[in-house]
Symmetry: C2
Subunit: 498 residues, 2 copies
Amino acid sequence: MRKQVDLFCVLSLFGAILKWLSVPLSVPFIYSIFGRENPLVFLIPIAVSLIAGLLLERLDSNPQLGLRETFLLVSLSWLGVALVGGLPYVLAGAGTVANPVNALFESMSGFTTTGATVMASISFGTHSPELMFWRQITQWLGGMGIIVLGIAILPRLSVGGSELIEAEAPGTQFDRITPRIVETARILWLLYVILTIILGILLYGSHLVGLSPQMDFYNAVAHALTTMPTGGFSPEAKSIAAFSSTVQWIIIPFMFMAGTNYALMWRAFTGSPRKLYRDTEFIFYSLILVFTTAIIFVMVSGNTFEKTQDAIRHSLFQVLTIVTTAGYASHDFNTWNSMAKTLLFMMMFIGGCAGSTGGGIKVFRWIVTIKMFFKQLFTTIYPRAVQSIRVGENIIKNKTARRVTIMILLYIVTFLIGALIIEIESYRIGLDLETLEIMSASAACIGNIGPGFGIVGPMNNYLAFSPLSKTVMVFLMWAGRLELFTLFVIFIPQYWRN
Amino acid sequence: MRKQVDLFCVLSLFGAILKWLSVPLSVPFIYSIFGRENPLVFLIPIAVSLIAGLLLERLDSNPQLGLRETFLLVSLSWLGVALVGGLPYVLAGAGTVANPVNALFESMSGFTTTGATVMASISFGTHSPELMFWRQITQWLGGMGIIVLGIAILPRLSVGGSELIEAEAPGTQFDRITPRIVETARILWLLYVILTIILGILLYGSHLVGLSPQMDFYNAVAHALTTMPTGGFSPEAKSIAAFSSTVQWIIIPFMFMAGTNYALMWRAFTGSPRKLYRDTEFIFYSLILVFTTAIIFVMVSGNTFEKTQDAIRHSLFQVLTIVTTAGYASHDFNTWNSMAKTLLFMMMFIGGCAGSTGGGIKVFRWIVTIKMFFKQLFTTIYPRAVQSIRVGENIIKNKTARRVTIMILLYIVTFLIGALIIEIESYRIGLDLETLEIMSASAACIGNIGPGFGIVGPMNNYLAFSPLSKTVMVFLMWAGRLELFTLFVIFIPQYWRN
Ligand SMILES: [K+]
Ligand SMILES: [K+]
């Protein structure tokens, strides 16, 4: 073990990542040449990412990434990309998002695929189509980042039991050899790209055949970009509620897929659909969705929605959007009865499947926890018995199970501390919030969900909070996306010592 | 290990406990001879406890209590005592509590020192002073039971890290030899009795000197009986808000003591007050109280309370009542602003100190959890390092730490499942509840706190819920009081097999 964290190595590799940010930034730049926005809004960030990236890269000509350096690299990359990716909001100078803290919030919300917004006015009257398109792109990039994180980085870091994520490509055993990981990442990126394209085609297709007048080409691409990463940004102020029921039905299966393990999905699509029925997490995930949709359906049908088909569609859509952490809205669920809202709030703590682009605690961690309950009950009566936990065909080591339980507790404690700070800060600035509003704001940020309830509802925004609250929320989104430990380790003194 | 659970042994020892219930039942019985209630209301339960107790005791002339039997004995005892102790409510036939499910709820709420009520009318117009006095006694008995549970039973059962509870009497090391445990229990019971008497004298004394006109002899005894067990029942509908500020100031230090480790308190009173400052849990407990009181004070002073002294008193009182799980009210905190309520709600998950009569998760478990966070962060960077956790002078074993984290998670999951069932059931019967109401009802039951927010607020009651919801709440109170595992193990199939 080296004596100190190799900062030059970390900065050099961060530079290598940062310079590539110029490529996606060129999309709105080119768009702006033919459009409304001043091209400098994107050209300056392109220059910043290229120059800073290339300069940083020179700090270490042969960077050797160790374990400790990886934590810093991942954490720094997400923050650094969010900072540079937030420049267009500041440079465009339009609306509330031009404020630097707000711009960082919006950008972090994008790259972490959270979908929480501080734009007071989501309309082309305030913001150019180019800037709104960049906002969509940030989520799509965030989703790509998460796939790499889930396959190549987290399993290696053994963070919160993340080594359990089975990310093998067809026919390959998951191991730590780099070419394999690169190959797996490529395959899953391909899947991600293909599903994005199919969704875009379906959305625009429904428009062409007259089933969704609002879903023009721009919107089709924009929403294709934010569905597979479970992002939730929309250039429409009313989110998916602005579109026809056809559009909502198209998005539903894609949200479902976005919340499943991408490796599992790849195998299912490439000849082994039976793998799905044998995957404990997938079964659990599906059962949770069916069960909670049924309850929500009963609670909203007949009162909020007169037609049964509306009640089914909106129940399913909202349950999916919360569990997968997509964060879209097909209806303003703040107008639903408080019982349905309570259930949706509880579901904010489930999260997608491991190996998906979804955030939150994740279904596999809950499965491990439930198994741990039974194991602990068993060893309480038979103290000398040694019992191992199995999830599907995998035997879970004690060490891994401990990581999982501690991760969930840390998640809950971080969520509560976040809620507490937001609460005290909001009180200080005279913002009177209900319990559900405060709690859901913190839960929606750490879970990378986006909208919550009340003031942070799907037709609302996070603008009213103080700069300190927003900074806490940025931290929550960042920490939640990196499964807490990846970020938190760099804050303990022992990380920097030795 | 024996092949099957020795049911006769368990029932015999349960009988031995049950027959003793006739002694406290004689108090309201004698009272009723000179009073208003039909003496049969107490005579029948006395007969039931004596006859059933003596008959059950005969099932096994030489009961040998094994580990597995202990779990069943403890769980069965709390339920059985609650059932027989609830008979007077049914037999008195007055008010809402005469319904059998309600009577069980009220009785379980008493013996678990929860303090949640289903009495629609808390007044001598509806209920006799004798019956209301029995209600107070059930909590005092519950408190005695918890002291025995904490000293003699839980450490032996190694439930949820409870073996960490340091229950040593002065000069003695805690071990498993029965005479020592009996001696420790006697000492702590003595402390419990002495503090109850002192509180009673202080309360009645304040009445005699004219500082609390409402606090007559009956009320002084009644409230002395429910403070040290962190019970919270009151024969006054307005709880402690019915009394003068002097009474509230008298009760404050006794609630504080009720929430601390009784063994630590004994040592502090008998010559080693410095032990307090060296006890990590006590320091944490005190800091939490000071910190949260300060925040609540800021939030309620100037608006809810015009006078600073009122704001200080009520903030401190309510913080203590929630953290120690006493559940009294010096003011209807439902009228406080939602920020203060949110904070009080979060504090429902702290709980008293280990070895106190308080319920909930308990401070020592949170301390272990926080230490585990740092340990896990450390081992994330240095996977091969072996680091042990210390709390004060104690080194915590991995096994114990795991029990603690799993206990907290099981607590949270049980609370959420409870809330979910209560929510669905309430929806079914047309009761429209806010998130905070549902959540706090479940949290107040499993944490043995008593009142929650809204419909279950301190000036309200649990009557409106369906019988199924109330049964779930009875289960939550029961499970919470027995630190979950003690009760849950008897529900896994492996408990009954082998
Ligand atoms: K999202
Ligand atoms: K209580």
